[in-house]
Protein backbone atom coordinates (compact mmCIF):
# COMPACT_ATOMS: atom_id res chain seq x y z
CA UNK A 1 0.00 0.00 0.00
CA UNK A 2 2.68 2.44 1.07
CA UNK A 3 4.65 1.43 -1.92
CA UNK A 4 1.79 2.41 -4.26
CA UNK A 5 1.43 5.79 -2.59
CA UNK A 6 5.15 6.42 -2.84
CA UNK A 7 5.28 5.40 -6.50
CA UNK A 8 2.38 7.70 -7.35
CA UNK A 9 3.92 10.69 -5.60
CA UNK A 10 7.15 9.99 -7.45
CA UNK A 11 5.30 9.76 -10.78
CA UNK A 12 3.39 12.95 -10.00
CA UNK A 13 6.59 14.95 -9.48
CA UNK A 14 8.52 13.34 -12.31
CA UNK A 15 5.71 13.84 -14.83
CA UNK A 16 5.39 17.52 -13.89
CA UNK A 17 9.14 18.05 -14.37
CA UNK A 18 9.17 16.10 -17.65
CA UNK A 19 6.16 18.03 -18.91
CA UNK A 20 7.33 21.56 -18.10
CA UNK A 21 11.05 21.16 -18.75
CA UNK A 22 11.03 18.86 -21.78
CA UNK A 23 7.69 18.43 -23.51
CA UNK A 24 6.52 22.04 -23.24
CA UNK A 25 9.67 23.06 -25.13
CA UNK A 26 9.43 20.43 -27.83
CA UNK A 27 7.57 22.58 -30.39
CA UNK A 28 7.64 19.73 -32.89
CA UNK A 29 6.67 21.05 -36.36
CA UNK A 30 6.28 24.49 -34.84
CA UNK A 31 3.22 23.91 -32.69
CA UNK A 32 3.07 20.37 -31.24
CA UNK A 33 3.75 20.21 -27.52
CA UNK A 34 2.55 16.76 -26.42
CA UNK A 35 0.97 16.64 -22.98
CA UNK A 36 2.36 13.36 -21.74
CA UNK A 37 1.33 13.91 -18.14
CA UNK A 38 -2.09 12.53 -19.12
CA UNK A 39 -0.53 9.10 -18.66
CA UNK A 40 -0.72 9.71 -14.92
CA UNK A 41 -4.48 9.09 -15.11
CA UNK A 42 -3.86 5.85 -16.98
CA UNK A 43 -1.30 4.61 -14.45
CA UNK A 44 -3.22 5.61 -11.35
CA UNK A 45 -4.53 2.56 -9.41
CA UNK A 46 -7.95 1.42 -10.58
CA UNK A 47 -9.47 0.58 -7.23
CA UNK A 48 -8.84 3.95 -5.69
CA UNK A 49 -10.99 6.52 -3.97
CA UNK A 50 -12.57 8.49 -6.77
CA UNK A 51 -12.84 11.76 -4.85
CA UNK A 52 -9.17 11.68 -3.91
CA UNK A 53 -8.28 10.88 -7.52
CA UNK A 54 -10.13 13.98 -8.74
CA UNK A 55 -8.46 16.20 -6.14
CA UNK A 56 -5.05 14.86 -7.21
CA UNK A 57 -5.94 15.46 -10.86
CA UNK A 58 -6.97 19.00 -9.99
CA UNK A 59 -3.62 19.74 -8.40
CA UNK A 60 -1.61 18.03 -11.11
CA UNK A 61 -3.29 20.18 -13.74
CA UNK A 62 -3.02 23.26 -11.58
CA UNK A 63 0.73 22.93 -11.03
CA UNK A 64 1.31 22.46 -14.74
CA UNK A 65 -0.88 25.51 -15.39
CA UNK A 66 1.24 27.65 -13.08
CA UNK A 67 4.35 26.58 -14.93
CA UNK A 68 3.01 27.12 -18.41
CA UNK A 69 0.98 30.30 -17.63
CA UNK A 70 -2.21 28.79 -19.05
CA UNK A 71 -4.45 29.74 -16.12
CA UNK A 72 -6.74 26.78 -15.36
CA UNK A 73 -6.96 25.02 -18.72
CA UNK A 74 -4.88 21.99 -17.76
CA UNK A 75 -6.73 21.86 -14.44
CA UNK A 76 -10.14 21.62 -16.06
CA UNK A 77 -9.00 19.16 -18.72
CA UNK A 78 -7.31 16.76 -16.32
CA UNK A 79 -10.14 17.03 -13.77
CA UNK A 80 -12.59 15.97 -16.47
CA UNK A 81 -10.39 13.06 -17.52
CA UNK A 82 -10.23 11.90 -13.90
CA UNK A 83 -14.00 12.19 -13.52
CA UNK A 84 -14.67 10.35 -16.77
CA UNK A 85 -12.15 7.55 -16.23
CA UNK A 86 -14.56 4.94 -14.73
CA UNK A 87 -16.99 5.48 -17.61
CA UNK A 88 -14.20 5.18 -20.17
CA UNK A 89 -12.93 2.00 -18.51
CA UNK A 90 -16.35 0.41 -18.59
CA UNK A 91 -16.56 1.36 -22.26
CA UNK A 92 -13.16 -0.13 -23.12
CA UNK A 93 -13.05 -3.23 -20.90
CA UNK A 94 -16.73 -4.07 -20.66
CA UNK A 95 -18.21 -5.68 -17.56
CA UNK A 96 -14.86 -7.30 -16.68
CA UNK A 97 -13.89 -4.00 -15.18
CA UNK A 98 -16.47 -4.43 -12.41
CA UNK A 99 -14.86 -7.61 -11.04
CA UNK A 100 -12.63 -7.59 -7.98
CA UNK A 101 -9.66 -9.30 -9.58
CA UNK A 102 -9.59 -7.08 -12.66
CA UNK A 103 -6.19 -5.80 -13.70
CA UNK A 104 -4.51 -4.43 -16.82
CA UNK A 105 -2.79 -7.79 -17.30
CA UNK A 106 -5.89 -9.53 -18.58
CA UNK A 107 -6.78 -6.91 -21.16
CA UNK A 108 -5.68 -6.69 -24.76
CA UNK A 109 -3.35 -4.08 -26.17
CA UNK A 110 -6.11 -2.64 -28.33
CA UNK A 111 -8.29 -2.06 -25.28
CA UNK A 112 -5.54 -0.27 -23.42
CA UNK A 113 -4.61 1.96 -26.37
CA UNK A 114 -8.29 2.80 -26.87
CA UNK A 115 -8.56 3.86 -23.24
CA UNK A 116 -5.45 5.99 -23.51
CA UNK A 117 -6.61 7.48 -26.80
CA UNK A 118 -10.03 8.42 -25.41
CA UNK A 119 -8.48 10.04 -22.35
CA UNK A 120 -6.12 12.06 -24.53
CA UNK A 121 -8.94 13.04 -26.89
CA UNK A 122 -11.12 14.35 -24.04
CA UNK A 123 -8.20 16.14 -22.44
CA UNK A 124 -7.00 17.83 -25.63
CA UNK A 125 -10.50 18.76 -26.81
CA UNK A 126 -11.22 20.59 -23.57
CA UNK A 127 -7.76 22.13 -23.39
CA UNK A 128 -7.58 23.54 -26.91
CA UNK A 129 -11.20 24.63 -27.27
CA UNK A 130 -10.98 26.60 -24.03
CA UNK A 131 -7.54 27.92 -24.88
CA UNK A 132 -8.66 29.35 -28.20
CA UNK A 133 -12.29 29.89 -27.14
CA UNK A 134 -13.66 30.89 -30.52
CA UNK A 135 -15.98 29.04 -32.89
CA UNK A 136 -14.41 30.89 -35.81
CA UNK A 137 -11.17 29.01 -35.18
CA UNK A 138 -12.76 25.56 -35.09
CA UNK A 139 -10.38 24.24 -37.77
CA UNK A 140 -7.37 25.46 -35.83
CA UNK A 141 -8.75 23.78 -32.70
CA UNK A 142 -9.30 20.47 -34.53
CA UNK A 143 -5.87 20.64 -36.14
CA UNK A 144 -4.22 21.20 -32.78
CA UNK A 145 -6.30 18.51 -31.05
CA UNK A 146 -5.50 15.82 -33.60
CA UNK A 147 -1.87 16.68 -34.31
CA UNK A 148 -0.96 17.06 -30.64
CA UNK A 149 -3.21 14.16 -29.65
CA UNK A 150 -1.54 11.69 -32.01
CA UNK A 151 1.96 12.64 -30.81
CA UNK A 152 0.82 12.43 -27.19
CA UNK A 153 -0.73 9.01 -27.83
CA UNK A 154 2.44 7.67 -29.44
CA UNK A 155 4.61 8.95 -26.59
CA UNK A 156 2.22 7.67 -23.92
CA UNK A 157 2.04 4.22 -25.52
CA UNK A 158 5.82 4.14 -25.59
CA UNK A 159 6.02 5.21 -21.95
CA UNK A 160 3.42 2.72 -20.81
CA UNK A 161 5.31 -0.16 -22.42
CA UNK A 162 8.70 1.10 -21.23
CA UNK A 163 7.74 1.66 -17.61
CA UNK A 164 4.94 -0.86 -17.23
CA UNK A 165 3.85 -0.72 -13.60
CA UNK A 166 4.16 -3.95 -11.64
CA UNK A 167 1.87 -2.95 -8.82
CA UNK A 168 -1.32 -3.18 -10.83
Amino acid sequence: MNNTVFINIFRFLLLILAQVLIFNNLNFMGFINPMVYVIFFYWYPIKANRALFMVIAFFLGFIIDIFSDTMALNTLASLTVAYARPVLMRFCFGVNYEFQNFSFKNTTNIQRVTLLGLMILIHHLIFFSLEILSIAHILLILKKVFATGIVTLVLCTLFSSLFSPKTE
Binding site: M71, T80, Y83
Partner: protein, 271 residues
Amino acid sequence: MQRIINFILRNRNAFLYGFLAFISLVMTIRSHSYHQSKFFNSSKWLSGSIYGTGADISSYFGLREENNRLLEENKQLRRLLFNRDDDSLPVLDSTLVNYEVLSAKLVKNSYTSPRNYLTIDKGKLDGVQQDMGVITTMGILGIVENVSKHYATVQSVLNTKSNINAKIKNTEYFGSLIWDGSDYTVAQLIDIPRLVPLVVGDTIVTGGMSSIFPENIPIGIIKKYDLNASRSFYNIDVELFNDMANLKNVYLIENKDRNEIKTLEAITTNE
Protein backbone atom coordinates in the same frame (compact mmCIF):
# COMPACT_ATOMS: atom_id res chain seq x y z
CA MET B 1 -33.98 17.09 4.43
CA GLN B 2 -32.83 13.52 4.87
CA ARG B 3 -33.50 12.94 1.20
CA ILE B 4 -31.51 15.96 0.12
CA ILE B 5 -28.54 14.84 2.19
CA ASN B 6 -28.81 11.33 0.83
CA PHE B 7 -28.98 12.68 -2.70
CA ILE B 8 -25.87 14.78 -2.18
CA LEU B 9 -24.02 11.86 -0.57
CA ARG B 10 -24.95 9.52 -3.39
CA ASN B 11 -23.72 11.97 -6.02
CA ARG B 12 -20.81 13.35 -4.06
CA ASN B 13 -18.33 12.69 -6.86
CA ALA B 14 -20.42 14.62 -9.35
CA PHE B 15 -20.71 17.48 -6.88
CA LEU B 16 -16.99 17.48 -6.22
CA TYR B 17 -16.37 17.52 -9.96
CA GLY B 18 -18.81 20.38 -10.42
CA PHE B 19 -17.22 22.36 -7.63
CA LEU B 20 -13.63 21.93 -8.84
CA ALA B 21 -14.63 22.53 -12.46
CA PHE B 22 -16.39 25.70 -11.40
CA ILE B 23 -13.23 26.98 -9.70
CA SER B 24 -11.09 26.32 -12.76
CA LEU B 25 -13.66 27.78 -15.16
CA VAL B 26 -13.84 30.99 -13.15
CA MET B 27 -10.06 31.26 -13.18
CA THR B 28 -9.90 30.63 -16.93
CA ILE B 29 -12.63 33.07 -17.87
CA ARG B 30 -11.25 35.78 -15.59
CA SER B 31 -7.89 35.48 -17.32
CA HIS B 32 -9.57 35.73 -20.73
CA SER B 33 -11.13 39.07 -19.95
CA TYR B 34 -8.50 40.46 -17.61
CA HIS B 35 -4.76 40.27 -17.07
CA GLN B 36 -2.78 37.16 -16.24
CA SER B 37 -3.40 36.05 -12.67
CA LYS B 38 -1.30 37.91 -10.13
CA PHE B 39 -0.95 34.93 -7.81
CA PHE B 40 -0.56 31.95 -10.11
CA ASN B 41 2.07 32.58 -12.72
CA SER B 42 5.50 31.23 -13.52
CA SER B 43 7.38 34.14 -11.95
CA LYS B 44 6.83 32.64 -8.48
CA TRP B 45 9.92 31.35 -6.74
CA LEU B 46 9.34 27.61 -7.07
CA SER B 47 8.44 27.57 -10.76
CA GLY B 48 10.89 30.39 -11.40
CA SER B 49 13.83 28.61 -9.83
CA ILE B 50 13.01 25.29 -11.52
CA TYR B 51 12.93 27.09 -14.87
CA GLY B 52 16.11 28.92 -13.88
CA THR B 53 17.93 25.66 -13.20
CA GLY B 54 16.66 24.20 -16.46
CA ALA B 55 17.82 27.26 -18.37
CA ASP B 56 21.22 27.16 -16.65
CA ILE B 57 21.79 23.66 -17.98
CA SER B 58 20.45 24.22 -21.48
CA SER B 59 22.20 27.57 -21.92
CA TYR B 60 25.54 25.76 -22.32
CA PHE B 61 24.38 24.28 -25.58
CA GLY B 62 23.77 27.64 -27.23
CA LEU B 63 26.85 29.50 -26.01
CA ARG B 64 28.63 29.69 -29.35
CA GLU B 65 25.58 30.99 -31.19
CA GLU B 66 24.80 33.46 -28.43
CA ASN B 67 28.39 34.73 -28.49
CA ASN B 68 28.17 35.34 -32.21
CA ARG B 69 24.95 37.23 -31.78
CA LEU B 70 26.43 39.48 -29.10
CA LEU B 71 29.55 40.06 -31.22
CA GLU B 72 27.32 41.08 -34.12
CA GLU B 73 25.47 43.52 -31.90
CA ASN B 74 28.71 44.94 -30.52
CA LYS B 75 29.90 45.43 -34.08
CA GLN B 76 26.77 47.38 -34.95
CA LEU B 77 27.02 49.56 -31.86
CA ARG B 78 30.71 50.26 -32.49
CA ARG B 79 29.95 51.24 -36.06
CA LEU B 80 27.39 53.71 -34.74
CA LEU B 81 29.90 55.04 -32.23
CA PHE B 82 32.72 55.51 -34.76
CA ASN B 83 30.47 57.18 -37.32
CA ARG B 84 29.07 59.79 -35.03
CA ASP B 85 29.10 63.25 -36.59
CA ASP B 86 30.40 65.11 -33.59
CA ASP B 87 33.18 63.56 -31.58
CA SER B 88 31.85 64.69 -28.22
CA LEU B 89 31.05 61.80 -25.92
CA PRO B 90 27.41 61.40 -25.03
CA VAL B 91 26.45 63.18 -21.85
CA LEU B 92 25.54 60.62 -19.23
CA ASP B 93 23.93 62.88 -16.70
CA SER B 94 21.35 60.80 -14.87
CA THR B 95 18.82 63.62 -14.86
CA LEU B 96 18.90 63.77 -18.65
CA VAL B 97 18.60 60.06 -19.30
CA ASN B 98 15.06 59.17 -20.21
CA TYR B 99 15.33 55.45 -20.69
CA GLU B 100 17.12 53.01 -18.41
CA VAL B 101 18.17 49.63 -19.85
CA LEU B 102 18.50 46.35 -17.93
CA SER B 103 19.56 43.00 -19.29
CA ALA B 104 18.03 39.62 -18.49
CA LYS B 105 18.02 36.03 -19.59
CA LEU B 106 14.95 34.15 -20.74
CA VAL B 107 14.29 31.05 -18.64
CA LYS B 108 11.02 30.01 -20.27
CA ASN B 109 9.90 30.66 -23.82
CA SER B 110 6.54 29.80 -25.35
CA TYR B 111 5.09 30.60 -28.77
CA THR B 112 2.56 27.90 -29.61
CA SER B 113 -0.37 28.93 -27.44
CA PRO B 114 -2.68 31.85 -28.31
CA ARG B 115 -1.60 33.62 -25.12
CA ASN B 116 2.14 33.32 -24.73
CA TYR B 117 3.99 34.40 -21.64
CA LEU B 118 7.76 34.33 -21.22
CA THR B 119 9.67 34.18 -17.94
CA ILE B 120 12.92 36.08 -17.33
CA ASP B 121 15.47 35.70 -14.56
CA LYS B 122 15.36 39.27 -13.21
CA GLY B 123 12.79 40.50 -10.71
CA LYS B 124 11.85 43.24 -8.29
CA LEU B 125 15.23 43.11 -6.55
CA ASP B 126 16.98 43.84 -9.86
CA GLY B 127 14.74 46.82 -10.55
CA VAL B 128 12.21 45.22 -12.87
CA GLN B 129 8.74 46.73 -12.69
CA GLN B 130 5.41 46.01 -14.29
CA ASP B 131 4.92 47.52 -17.78
CA MET B 132 8.58 47.76 -18.70
CA GLY B 133 9.26 47.13 -22.38
CA VAL B 134 11.21 44.03 -23.39
CA ILE B 135 13.31 43.91 -26.58
CA THR B 136 16.14 41.88 -28.08
CA THR B 137 18.93 42.85 -30.43
CA MET B 138 16.60 42.18 -33.35
CA GLY B 139 13.50 43.97 -32.19
CA ILE B 140 10.50 44.12 -29.95
CA LEU B 141 9.50 41.21 -27.71
CA GLY B 142 6.83 42.15 -25.18
CA ILE B 143 5.85 43.91 -21.97
CA VAL B 144 6.54 42.88 -18.35
CA GLU B 145 3.32 41.66 -16.78
CA ASN B 146 4.04 40.25 -13.32
CA VAL B 147 7.10 40.63 -11.11
CA SER B 148 8.28 38.52 -8.19
CA LYS B 149 11.47 38.94 -6.18
CA HIS B 150 13.82 37.23 -8.60
CA TYR B 151 11.74 36.53 -11.71
CA ALA B 152 9.24 38.25 -13.96
CA THR B 153 6.74 37.15 -16.59
CA VAL B 154 6.54 38.94 -19.92
CA GLN B 155 3.44 39.19 -22.09
CA SER B 156 4.84 38.36 -25.51
CA VAL B 157 3.78 40.21 -28.68
CA LEU B 158 2.54 36.75 -29.61
CA ASN B 159 -0.41 37.12 -27.27
CA THR B 160 -3.96 37.79 -28.41
CA LYS B 161 -4.25 40.32 -25.58
CA SER B 162 -1.17 42.24 -26.70
CA ASN B 163 -1.71 45.66 -28.28
CA ILE B 164 1.32 47.80 -29.08
CA ASN B 165 1.55 51.18 -30.75
CA ALA B 166 3.46 50.86 -34.03
CA LYS B 167 4.08 52.99 -37.10
CA ILE B 168 5.58 52.76 -40.56
CA LYS B 169 9.22 53.78 -40.47
CA ASN B 170 10.02 57.38 -41.46
CA THR B 171 6.33 58.36 -41.47
CA GLU B 172 3.95 59.31 -38.70
CA TYR B 173 1.15 56.92 -39.68
CA PHE B 174 0.52 54.79 -36.64
CA GLY B 175 -1.65 51.79 -35.81
CA SER B 176 -1.90 48.94 -33.33
CA LEU B 177 0.18 45.80 -33.47
CA ILE B 178 -1.87 42.75 -32.50
CA TRP B 179 -1.60 39.00 -33.02
CA ASP B 180 -4.30 36.69 -34.35
CA GLY B 181 -2.80 33.57 -32.80
CA SER B 182 -2.09 31.58 -35.94
CA ASP B 183 1.52 32.02 -37.06
CA TYR B 184 4.36 32.80 -34.67
CA THR B 185 6.43 34.59 -37.29
CA VAL B 186 3.70 37.04 -38.31
CA ALA B 187 1.88 39.73 -36.30
CA GLN B 188 -0.87 42.06 -37.55
CA LEU B 189 -0.86 45.84 -37.79
CA ILE B 190 -4.33 47.37 -37.91
CA ASP B 191 -5.89 50.86 -38.07
CA ILE B 192 -3.62 52.25 -40.78
CA PRO B 193 -5.87 54.49 -42.97
CA ARG B 194 -6.33 53.43 -46.60
CA LEU B 195 -4.84 56.61 -48.04
CA VAL B 196 -1.38 55.63 -46.76
CA PRO B 197 0.89 54.40 -49.55
CA LEU B 198 2.18 50.95 -48.58
CA VAL B 199 4.85 48.78 -50.14
CA VAL B 200 5.57 45.14 -49.30
CA GLY B 201 8.90 45.15 -47.48
CA ASP B 202 8.41 48.44 -45.64
CA THR B 203 9.78 48.43 -42.11
CA ILE B 204 7.43 48.70 -39.13
CA VAL B 205 8.80 50.26 -35.93
CA THR B 206 7.34 51.20 -32.56
CA GLY B 207 5.53 54.51 -32.46
CA GLY B 208 6.12 57.26 -29.96
CA MET B 209 2.59 57.19 -28.56
CA SER B 210 3.25 54.58 -25.88
CA SER B 211 5.07 55.36 -22.69
CA ILE B 212 6.49 51.83 -22.65
CA PHE B 213 8.72 51.64 -25.72
CA PRO B 214 10.92 54.39 -27.10
CA GLU B 215 10.27 55.38 -30.69
CA ASN B 216 11.80 53.51 -33.64
CA ILE B 217 12.50 50.09 -32.18
CA PRO B 218 12.31 47.67 -35.11
CA ILE B 219 9.36 45.26 -35.22
CA GLY B 220 9.28 43.69 -38.65
CA ILE B 221 8.56 44.20 -42.34
CA ILE B 222 5.28 44.26 -44.25
CA LYS B 223 4.61 40.81 -45.68
CA LYS B 224 1.23 41.49 -47.24
CA TYR B 225 -1.67 43.89 -46.77
CA ASP B 226 -5.32 44.26 -47.68
CA LEU B 227 -8.27 46.43 -46.68
CA ASN B 228 -10.44 45.40 -43.73
CA ALA B 229 -14.18 44.72 -43.82
CA SER B 230 -15.18 48.40 -43.70
CA ARG B 231 -12.70 49.12 -46.53
CA SER B 232 -11.31 52.19 -44.80
CA PHE B 233 -8.34 50.73 -42.93
CA TYR B 234 -5.58 48.32 -43.84
CA ASN B 235 -4.94 44.96 -42.23
CA ILE B 236 -1.20 44.45 -42.55
CA ASP B 237 0.68 41.21 -41.94
CA VAL B 238 4.03 42.04 -40.36
CA GLU B 239 6.82 39.51 -40.52
CA LEU B 240 8.67 39.86 -37.22
CA PHE B 241 12.42 40.45 -37.15
CA ASN B 242 12.71 38.38 -33.98
CA ASP B 243 12.86 34.63 -34.34
CA MET B 244 10.45 34.01 -31.49
CA ALA B 245 11.45 30.36 -31.26
CA ASN B 246 15.09 31.12 -30.61
CA LEU B 247 15.60 33.71 -27.89
CA LYS B 248 18.04 33.93 -25.00
CA ASN B 249 19.24 37.36 -23.92
CA VAL B 250 16.79 40.23 -23.67
CA TYR B 251 16.86 43.89 -22.65
CA LEU B 252 14.33 45.67 -20.47
CA ILE B 253 13.57 49.33 -21.01
CA GLU B 254 12.35 51.58 -18.27
CA ASN B 255 10.86 54.93 -19.17
CA LYS B 256 11.73 57.34 -16.36
CA ASP B 257 8.91 59.67 -17.36
CA ARG B 258 6.25 56.97 -17.47
CA ASN B 259 4.73 57.80 -14.08
CA GLU B 260 4.56 61.48 -14.92
CA ILE B 261 2.88 60.75 -18.26
CA LYS B 262 0.43 58.32 -16.64
CA THR B 263 -0.55 60.79 -13.92
CA LEU B 264 -1.04 63.55 -16.44
CA GLU B 265 -3.20 61.33 -18.65
CA ALA B 266 -5.26 60.20 -15.67
CA ILE B 267 -5.95 63.79 -14.65
CA THR B 268 -6.88 64.73 -18.20
CA THR B 269 -9.41 61.94 -18.65
CA ASN B 270 -10.96 62.58 -15.23
CA GLU B 271 -11.88 66.12 -16.06
